[in-house]
Point group: D2
Chain length 473, copies 4
């Protein structure tokens, strides 16, 4: 697969309590969250006494065929998960939600994020005789819960959460309660909604729109919400929090029709594009082209601000992304043309500005410039609606390692030469933060741009290395 | 699957002669033509003496796994085909190109279009003892070729072509020649290109861009081109032709980056949108929204002409289109929301114009209006960048039958009520023809709008009924 | 796969007319005939007006899943076919019965055997404009039928049969009749039965036992039986016949519980073993062991005649025969042990006689001798209950070519050395014929032993070469 | 599937230490043990530092495709497992060997048998915070090992073994040792062998023959053998043992070419048949027929003792056992005929004795009597070479529950009537024990015949109920 980006989201979660169609709604919500994970998906549902699960590899229709979902249809509480595709070997046993059976009661667990002390905690648990089946952080939490001597279920959960560090959005299903928890930095999005009188939670509000739920509010850093028949219990597992929502969720990951702090990502991305236009200043160009699909909003913002007409000068082949034959050496260069095609008679002899949301390895940008020049474009100016991405992420995003990130080794001027553009302009870090603040954010993690990691990285394991490092394989 | 349209293209063809990577280029070209057919695909290649084939069901990566394509990699001449998904039972035996083996020489054959006298010709051939394996029009041509007493191969082909009526674009591979033929009305597009000194033909020029070929010219109605080692022989099988290119190719089927008569479909669709804006006249609206993906160009044209800002107010879930669980009755209405999502805070309390390229059954339009109103839109005006589609097609498009086409039974006013829009405006037939002419067309079939069928329909069998009617099952 | 023999049957056929459970009975009968073909299977059924088919690759449960069989359940007439596994590429299009659709009426056709003039007839048909889809002899007959100018359906069939030469057992289904035909030498078995008042035909009577049918009689060389609502019409397409039933059907292919001429194959094989014991004369041995499963009956006969006790000294792993990992070089020798295992403490220090029905390439015999000696056997004497197999078969059996048949190049003494046995005794040709006569046979083909081919071999194409030679690939 | 018996073996295990082809030999050995489990299979191998595993569902070729086995080819130590098919839902996560990863060192574990206190131990472990992934007894042992505070690895293992009760044969792989352990009753067989200087262990010696290994001796009740680079350490985890080898292993499960106490199962079964003949006394019959394949040896023994000729009067369709279409009601009776076919002309008008090794539900026996009578047999006498099977098994065999076992509810006379035989004779319990002793056995469990369960059944959970009872689903 010719990956358009070297960026992969870590997962998406959903949960709902007390709805007659809990499993079906969970399926629909996961479908809306599919962009957050394509490797596998699962649902765990409860009938008030026991938990039952279904999960599988692949996209939703494969992972959870109708018959599996229907087998859970009579249960009123459910959680679900979509898992992203790692580069390593993937296995069904890693697909969430996990379902732990015990004579003390069943436990369902799903997780979006990445713990930075999972290995340390796990080693200590193993020293005491614990046996782990997976390399997942979710399993660490399950062991901490099983071991906790705290009096109540909620106290056990708070006790367990206090022992883990990192970025996490957990949904936890017991036979008669749904608990959700967000880390004290609030790195990953987690939203509270309501449908037909039932509470639900989701990584993004697009899941609410998909099921006809109302978006109530963002779940806040450090919060632990417990939903039962008696309603919702709103609590925190820590007193102090440090809001640090992931910037890349705004810039690239979240669906444009999702909202953070009640504002649509579409409008935020448009604003990032406008800000970039302001920073870029006067430029002589015939049209501005957004790289489909994620940068179309930024291009619209750029166009509105600069007054330069916005055209669909690049089209994405909607069948690309699937496995493709390996072209022989001679054919390799041509193969690139299959994923993004310029509209020839539109760009011919024109000066064009291309807006993209980010550059990771630079290969796609290079292809785009080449393709437009092959199609006859006179000049190709590249505008990036975010700052230079320089550092890997320890909080749940599978960014390529340093070695592959072009901006970690090259200056903007060198990148421009590498991709062959006539000019290259990135949005500044300050301007980016301005835009986020303007849309209600109280603080973002910008570590991938600045290297300022807000949470101490105890294990020093990237999420994509976890299988190897934690399981020793 | 929730089909966005009730319209399906009949197929796409490609051929190339005398290139070292003929099979690989054919694969790449078919990939670019994948939008013209998703049920199956195949390649037949020649080594100068014999023909070899590979074909399969499904999208390219499934239908033609790498190993199959590689098995043909050493051959220099090849034809390929992508087949659309009929509603009926689909079988590998219907996937093209067909490969007929005979001690007199092998024959490869692929076809885009639909014959209107296939049953009549077939019955006559059967009366003489011929045995048919499929219900395909391609097989009819093969029998006519095998029976022809004409002296030369070209004369046999011309003799056979004269006996068939309808819309057809044939690519025919013999051991040492590639022949392409277009019917005398030129209903389906067929383009001539060149890459690395080798001639190639394709249903659309996007295939040329994909393989780095140069687009030479459109193949004209009635033409028969024979490509051999000695170059290209340009001939006709009839003296008189009646240019009647399919209007829906311009409006809906062709990829926006393909060109007809050297003009990109993107620009033609923009012009259709502009024309619609002119015809619609003054309208008080806050934004114009194109239905993704096919109507984005028309929306841009509408915006440019009307001065109303163009926004991405509707987003398409890129994972929709795959098989999905059947929602239970209560959930059905919610399921609709999964394919197209409005950006809530963008359309809330706004008057919006939605541009779509056509309405077939009306169900999608109804969903769109509902979704936007649910998201808070104050008014939803629908603009269609083509005239009311009223009649089925006998020339190679699987439009729903009369019974399902909303405009065949209802007036524009009734349709507006049915879909719940605040207003509904179609482009006029005359204005549509004006736009096509402006972009170099010498005549279009508008039968689906007007009922004026330019080619007599002898068998009275719709393409989608062929299996049943011709094979008697 | 470690093939136990280098011998493969060409196919099995079944047909039934006028039974409420025609398709289900056909499925059951094919299941009983599965040993005659494992590559694919199919059923064609008629409702009195049209024909409907189902076929697939693999063993019955794969080739014809329940749903496919049920789709034919309401029809009262059916034919079926199991196809053997060729070494070449196998394709669904070769799986029978063939179903030819025509506006003149549908035709279903299945075939066991091999024509010796198929290529000659086919070439002539192609010269007249016929198009063939497969390399199958069945298709040749279909074309001859379609072309025949004879007045009635039966006359057309007789006219077509007269033009073909070779070994054939055809079952032919029209909308309102079932026709079966056997070549004038009667090389392949074909049996007539009756169940619940409906006539049925099958390659072997084990199919009758499986469905509760009564075995009426063997169909005779040159016979053409037409079964309709009015009963059975018994006719011949030639006046003179030359009974030459295939000897290998008696010796190896047929199931031991099938009957030819009212005698069970089990008893015939026992008699072959007895005859071998007589010819072998006095031999000092502790036990006689039959090679499972096909030679157990012969071993029993040998034991009864010689008075030497019969023991199960060799056991067959019932999971062998499926695809197995390729052992690395060192492991290869050990892999052999997986298919047949000696009972160690039974054969240790013993003189054993092993009875096998035939030797093709000699590899299995060599393994058996080795395995028994490794297990401690003092002497291993090999007795073969048929004469030395020396020649390939043109009449429907896929024997290895000359190059691979050990007895075509080596004397019995040399074969003994090659396989490492202490002695090797074959049954004589005369004695074999005596046994067959004793059980009612009127003449057998012994060409594979003697080289006396009773039917002139016009095309000189072995059945296993047909794809390559006929289709020119 | 029409199951021939209502008896299923619980599994087979294999282990080898210090051989260059460890994984390939394990694969071959598992192939020889395939009759002990068809649901899934796996291999875990060690490179001296880490463990690596491969496992899958289905028979060997599916469960462990070549590529998976090759991926383990460079490792010198390996264990393997074949798992039987339960009636419940089967899942990959239950397929063994289990591979537990820990920073303290990896652990591979496979198991044949059934613990009778697994639930009690598991509940206690869960109360201390342990989390179980499966319902398998193997996982119980892994937790006990992880928790053990004993000083050395061997002491930990002995400590863990002392806490479990029941029938078990464990193979345990650490990075640098292979440990095998048999319960103090020795219910399941476990054998020690040697190949190319490397020690190996297997459930049956047929695995040794398959890989060219020498059979050294039976592993004794209570033994714990530890194999390392330094050779073999032979120890016990208990002082007192109670030899109680499972009688059904002798009678039905083990392959006839396997040896227990150096005697082949084939000879033991022959002796059981002889003993039955003695007990049955004089009977007027024309032939004795063994039910294939498991009762052929007993029939030979019966024949030798009684002097009545042994014939293959019943043949097994070797393609039966695979999934088959559900016959409609009318067809059901006929479907039975597909699995076992009588040789009609052999049994017609004859008095026959049929020897079978056991009767569980009685359905198969009923079919056999019917089939033989349909084929014309005048009298059918049934002889069973074991005592009436009356009780379920808690030690690792999936016998049907009481409700389904015919002899738990009916007398021998009533069973005879039910199956329609002219007489029915079982072997006596005493005579059975005599035969076993004669072949070196020091004591057998006969609980399924007598109800005398030698090991206290603490959890009262049948192996086939384990999933439901232990995991609470």
């Amino acid at each position: 697969m010719y990956d358009i980006k070297g960026l992969n989201e870590e997962c998406g979660v959903f949960g709902i309590y007390g709805h007659d169609s809990a499993a079906t709604l969970t399926y629909m919500a996961l479908h809306a969250l599919q962009h957050r994970g394509q490797e596998g998906a699962g649902i765990v549902a409860s009938n008030g006494e026991n938990l039952f699960g279904a999960r599988g590899m692949g996209l939703l229709p494969e992972a959870l065929p109708e018959q599996k979902v229907k087998s859970l249809a009579s249960y009123k509480n459910a959680i679900g998960h979509v898992r992203y595709a790692t580069t390593g070997a993937s296995e069904l046993s890693n697909v969430q939600p996990f379902l732990f059976k015990s004579h003390k009661g069943d436990l369902g667990l799903a997780h979006n994020g990445n713990l930075v002390n999972a290995k340390k905690v796990r080693d200590a648990l193993e020293d005491e005789g614990a046996i782990f089946q997976t390399s997942s952080d979710s399993e660490v939490l399950a062991h901490l819960l099983a071991k906790s001597k705290a009096a109540t279920r909620k106290d056990k959960i708070k006790h367990a959460l206090k022992q883990i560090k990192g970025a996490f959005a957990f949904v936890i299903l017991h036979e008669d309660s749904l608990t959700v928890a967000l880390d004290d930095h609030g790195v990953r999005p987690l939203m509270l909604g309501e449908v037909d009188g039932a509470y639900c939670v989701a990584s993004e509000t697009c899941a609410f729109h998909a099921i006809g739920a109302t978006y109530i509010r963002d779940i806040m850093p450090g919060e632990v919400l417990t939903i039962t028949e008696d309603g919702i219990d709103e609590d925190r597992y820590v007193d102090t929090t440090y809001p640090n929502m992931c910037s890349m969720e705004y810039i690239y990951f979240a669906r444009a029709d999702s909202e953070f702090h009640q504002n649509s990502i579409y409008r935020i991305r448009k604003a990032l594009g406008s800000a970039l236009a302001e920073e870029m200043g006067d430029i002589d160009a015939d049209m501005v082209i957004g790289v489909p699909d994620s940068s179309l909003a930024a291009a619209k913002g750029f166009s509105a601000q600069s007054g330069i007409i916005n055209e669909q000068g690049l089209l994405k082949n909607r069948y690309v992304g699937r496995t493709f034959i390996t072209p022989d050496q001679v054919m390799r260069e041509r193969a690139v043309r299959m994923k993004l095609s310029p509209v020839y008679d539109l760009v011919k002899d024109k000066k064009v500005i291309v807006i993209d949301d980010s550059i990771v390895r630079g290969t796609t940008s290079k292809y785009i410039v080449q393709a437009l020049k092959n199609a006859g474009a006179k000049e190709v100016h590249m505008g990036i609606s975010s700052p230079p991405l320089k550092n890997p992420c320890y909080y749940g995003i599978d960014v390529s390692t340093h070695a592959e990130i072009i901006a970690s080794k090259k200056s903007v001027a060198e990148i421009r030469v590498e991709i062959g553009a006539d000019s290259l302009t990135y949005l500044s870090v300050d301007r980016m933060h301005d835009v986020f603040k303007q849309f209600g954010s109280r603080g973002q993690c910008d570590a991938c741009f600045t290297g300022n990691y807000p949470i101490e990285i105890i294990d020093h394991i990237l999420p994509q290395e976890k299988d190897r490092k934690v399981k020793g394989v």
